[in-house]
């Protein structure tokens, strides 16, 4: 079993322990991840006041017996995880993604991870044998010697001046398809701090609309993209409070999930304009990109 599926399993288990998933739901989802029915039942049974240290080996065992057989004679290079599960992420209210232009190397691991997460969630059939970065909501862009990580900054308009405190993209959406899910609501697995999401049933897509991105690009950044299959809007949900991109980033503190007061528009900037500023900051030269 790979790391991602193992982590997903732990997330499910966590949900089960918190009572957000029924035992039946847990078993169904765990078996979908490749865990045998027996193992899933065993795992589900463990929730009953079994102390965590005992659950870890049980899970590792289950993983080992249900992992797909290696196809070569070589042992699988990444052994099934045997360590204790990562501590459950606590809700992180007021947190946001910030990148550090000095530390980020532009390696794209964040985008690959984000893309894989969303394509598997939205189009599992169409994307079962492809990895496509177009599904990623976070896109590092390279301007030769500087890299700019482009992602939604969670801007809010100023009510006293601009008439609303909605996000600009939400405000111009004719369908009200971009929504802010309040704290404590939303889908399982998300840690409960509010997040932005797109109701794909309502979104008209770029072919008919695209006002959200147009408004974003004109005055803020370029925080929205469109999926390559239905051309509907995609926006960073910050994984509901525990972003996968931050966890996969190989560079210490290059991409962080940190408290940013309330209004992300302090940080929103068009990629190219930001790159020009980074040139001034980092290299003491002006480059007109």
């Amino acid at each position: 079993m790979d790391q991602a599926r193992a982590e997903k399993l732990w997330e499910l288990h966590h949900e089960l322990e918190r009572g957000r998933l029924s035992r039946r739901q847990f078993i169904r989802m765990a078996t979908a991840l490749g865990v045998s029915l027996t193992a899933a039942e065993a795992l589900a049974g463990c929730q009953k006041a079994t102390p965590a240290p005992t659950t870890a080996p049980t899970q590792a065992q289950a993983v080992a017996t249900t992992a797909p057989q290696p196809t070569s004679a070589q042992p699988a290079p990444t052994a099934a995880p045997t360590q204790a599960p990562p501590a459950a992420a606590e809700p992180k209210e007021g947190y946001m993604l910030r990148f550090d232009g000095y530390r980020c190397t532009g390696c794209l691991l964040c985008a690959v991870t984000c893309a894989e997460k969303w394509q598997a969630e939205l189009f599992p059939e169409q994307t079962k044998d492809v990895v496509n970065l177009e599904f990623s909501r976070i896109r590092p862009m390279r301007f030769q010697y500087v890299d700019v990580v482009n992602v939604c900054n969670y801007c809010k308009l100023e009510e006293w001046a601009e008439g609303t405190k909605e996000a600009p993209c939400m405000s111009v959406c004719p369908q009200k398809a971009i929504k802010f899910v309040p704290k404590g609501e939303g889908k399982p697995g998300y840690t409960g701090y509010g997040y932005k999401t797109v109701d794909r049933d309502l979104c008209l897509g770029l072919d008919a609309c695209g006002r959200c991105l147009e408004a974003c690009e004109q005055q803020f950044g370029s925080g929205i993209s469109f999926d390559p299959i239905e051309h509907k809007a995609q926006v960073c949900t910050m994984c509901g409070g525990d972003p996968a991109c931050v966890k996969v980033c190989p560079e210490p503190e290059a991409l962080q999930f940190v408290p940013v007061v309330v209004n992300g528009r302090s940080f929103a900037f068009q990629p190219e304009a930001y790159a020009e500023l980074l040139y001034m900051k980092m290299f003491n030269v002006r480059r007109d990109l």
Partner: protein, 681 residues
């Protein structure tokens, strides 16, 4: 046939003469045999007849191919490779990092082949299936850095651009009153990758490179000159299809394991190749100094300017990765100098080859009037100036789009000829090229890329320049200072100290005088079998196409990654060697046949092939390896013992080094190679 995975089974073929774009669909067995990259490119050089001596490298008939391999895309450490007939009329296989390899795969292509010649400057825009030949007159003549940023803007995917539909009425009234809709539409994303040439390539300087991301180069063998000969400024690619994978979960799992392993590789993660010069090359007498007259400084303080820590604190600004790599070996820098010519130059590092070839080799490190034998009397500020000179020379080569290995060897040749009074400033249009003079270097490089005056001669590289002056001056000894082998510059790795293996490596690699063939260490120990195996692995890596810096992190995972990408369950470890062997057999035949070398026994008697005289007949003047020469000066051992042994062990004829009919058959490449091999045997 089930759809291929890992690769798309499609190569775009663009004829710039007619403007036609067609699709080449290599069958699965071709991918299985050649994989991609280097080996696949060689296959097409034979299949399309580019190997024929009648094909002029700089003529419209020549075909230039930019190829990737099955793991490129979201796999780790992707590189692209250019395969063509070099401006020097031998094999050109040249690789580069950067985002282009992944982006080309995402666009649905395993490569692009370009033939013909455009009537006026053009660039090729690839947006998934759509390939357009567009006017490039607005970027023709511009440096690679400026032109790249212009071209990148011009290529957006359909989902990144749209006319404006947002109106003020769509916005809350107060907001619209403050900032009404600007009616600019959408178009701020910048995700395209660009390969392009600079003025050097446009003027067909033989050692012009194809650049990407400012400092990354398909640097060797003059691929940029071939672009220029076709009036092709660049290729811009934006792909939105992703990478097809047979077993995605397994592929990502293995890729993550490689990346985790790379995360612990703090040699690369601290200084990249900048850690080599001071700490290793000088200590082991392997450093090009003043056209290889020395290979170590008596006082290591002289070369501290090119140490990792010094460069880091003096000028590194940040670090950059290729896609999917956690080693980030490239460090963008800002130069600090008291000299306005160099101050505030933005460049990279320099990396090891640049430190050697346009650093020590140009006499930039010693204090004025001092030689490499003298103690260093300067301060950190003097070191910073030496570093600035190296960085500035790196920058002009990158920005003009020329290779600083061949370029550094050429400049060092001219400087040594000047030192020995074999040429005068009048021979260089009045430029007095003295050791360490960066302004003179700047002036001469400008002449070369403009092909102005003497620059037109120099643009043909080190060996041809030596030949020109030897004839002009009636002094054949000038050839002794041409630090070349196969008519091509020796990179920044010495052969005389304890590194004789490099000499064999340079002689036998199918990419002439290549420093990355992997065979140096086994040849050092005299282990020919291991050297062949290492060459095969490297040729395989160049077909996959992955980075040799990261290859160690792939060990034990490579076969599984190919399997996970392609779904070829029967792909075996042994195939790694086979792909490499195929590349080597084809490369050997290509180099002999296109140059018209009919009797390879005499290859080494032929003046064009003779390696630099210094290797075998001039002992190192100083340092811990003082007095040493390559193979103790025993050329006979190299050419009459080691070479035939190497050829024989490769399954090639012992007398001429031609792959035998049986070998070609065993490798399954007799269909494209046997006719030519038979002629050569």
């Amino acid at each position: 046939m089930a759809a291929l995975k890992g690769v798309w089974g499609k190569i775009a073929r663009v004829d710039l003469s007619t403007g036609n774009v067609t699709v080449v669909e290599p069958p699965e067995e071709v991918y299985r045999k050649y994989l991609g990259g280097e080996a696949l490119g060689l296959y097409y050089l034979f299949k399309e007849g580019i190997v024929d001596p009648s094909v002029d490298p700089l003529g419209p008939q020549n075909m230039i191919q930019l190829l990737v391999g099955p793991t490129n895309g979201v796999g780790a450490n992707a590189r692209s490779v250019i395969v063509t007939k070099s401006a020097y009329n031998f094999l050109c296989v040249t690789t580069s990092g950067g985002r282009g390899a992944a982006e080309l795969k995402f666009a649905g292509w395993d490569g692009i082949q370009i033939v013909g010649k455009a009537p006026k400057p053009v660039y090729i825009a690839i947006i998934d299936d759509k390939i357009e030949i567009r006017d490039a007159s607005h970027v023709w003549g511009k440096g690679t850095e400026e032109a790249e940023m212009i071209l990148q803007k011009e290529v957006l995917s359909p989902l990144e651009q749209r006319e404006s539909i947002l109106r003020s009425a769509d916005m809350p009234e107060k907001w619209a009153a403050l900032h009404p809709a600007a009616k600019k539409g959408i178009g701020a994303k910048r995700l395209a990758a660009v390969w392009l040439i600079g003025p050097g390539g446009e003027k067909q300087v033989w050692y012009a490179s194809v650049m990407t991301e400012g400092a990354r180069a398909h640097g060797r063998y003059g691929a940029g000159a071939i672009f220029g000969s076709k009036n092709l400024k660049g290729i811009v690619v934006r792909g939105t299809k992703g990478q097809p994978l047979a077993d995605k979960a397994r592929f990502l799992e293995l890729t993550r394991a490689i990346q985790s392993s790379e995360k612990g590789d703090y040699g690369w993660r601290s200084y990249g190749t900048a850690r080599i010069g001071y700490a290793h090359s000088n200590a082991s007498s392997d450093f090009p100094i003043r056209n290889w007259q020395w290979e170590a400084w008596a006082d290591p303080h002289t070369v501290m300017a090119l140490s990792g820590p010094f460069m880091d604190v003096a000028s590194f600004v940040r670090k950059q990765s290729c896609p999917g790599c956690a080693m980030h070996c490239l460090y963008p820098v800002e130069t600090t100098s008291a000299d306005p010519l160099m101050d505030r130059t933005i460049s990279d590092m320099p990396d090891w080859e640049a430190m050697g070839m346009v650093g020590g080799n140009l006499g930039y490190l010693e204090m004025p009037g001092a030689t490499p034998d003298d103690p260093f009397t300067g301060t950190h500020f003097d070191r910073a100036e030496a570093l600035a000179k190296t960085q500035y020379t790196t920058f002009i080569h990158d920005n003009y789009g020329i290779d600083f290995i061949e370029g550094g060897a050429l400049l060092a040749l001219l400087m040594e000829l000047r030192q020995r009074d074999l040429i005068t400033p009048a021979d260089l249009d009045g430029i007095d090229l003295q050791w360490g003079d960066v302004h003179a270097v700047d002036a001469i490089v400008k002449k070369i890329v403009a092909r102005q005056g003497i620059g037109d001669v120099l643009a043909r590289g080190t060996y041809e320049t030596a030949k020109y002056f030897a004839e002009k001056k009636g002094k054949p000894e000038i050839m002794d200072y041409s630090m070349t082998c196969h008519r091509y510059a020796q990179p920044a790795h010495g052969v005389r100290a304890n590194a004789c293996g490099n000499a064999m490596s340079y002689l036998v690699a199918i990419r002439p005088t290549e420093h990355t063939s992997g065979s140096r260490i086994p040849f050092n120990r005299g282990d020919v079998d291991a050297a062949i195996a290492a060459e095969n692995v490297q040729a395989f890596n160049n077909s996959l196409v992955i980075c040799s810096f990261a290859a160690g992190h792939w060990t034990g995972k490579t076969v599984d990654l190919v399997k996970a990408a392609t779904g070829w369950e029967d792909f075996q470890e042994a195939e790694i060697g086979k792909v490499g062997e195929r590349a080597y057999a084809l490369g050997r035949l290509f180099n002999l046949y296109c140059q018209g070398i009919k009797d390879p026994k005499k290859e080494w008697d032929c003046p064009e092939m003779v390696p630099a005289k210094r290797w075998f007949s001039e002992p190192l003047p100083a340092g811990p390896h003082k007095g040493k020469m390559a193979y103790d000066g025993d050329m006979d051992k190299v050419f009459n013992q080691l070479l035939p042994e190497y050829w024989k062990k490769r399954g090639w004829t012992e007398d001429k080094g031609i792959p035998t009919a049986e070998k070609l058959k065993e490798l399954g490449i007799d269909d494209v190679a046997e006719a030519i091999a038979a002629q050569l045997r």
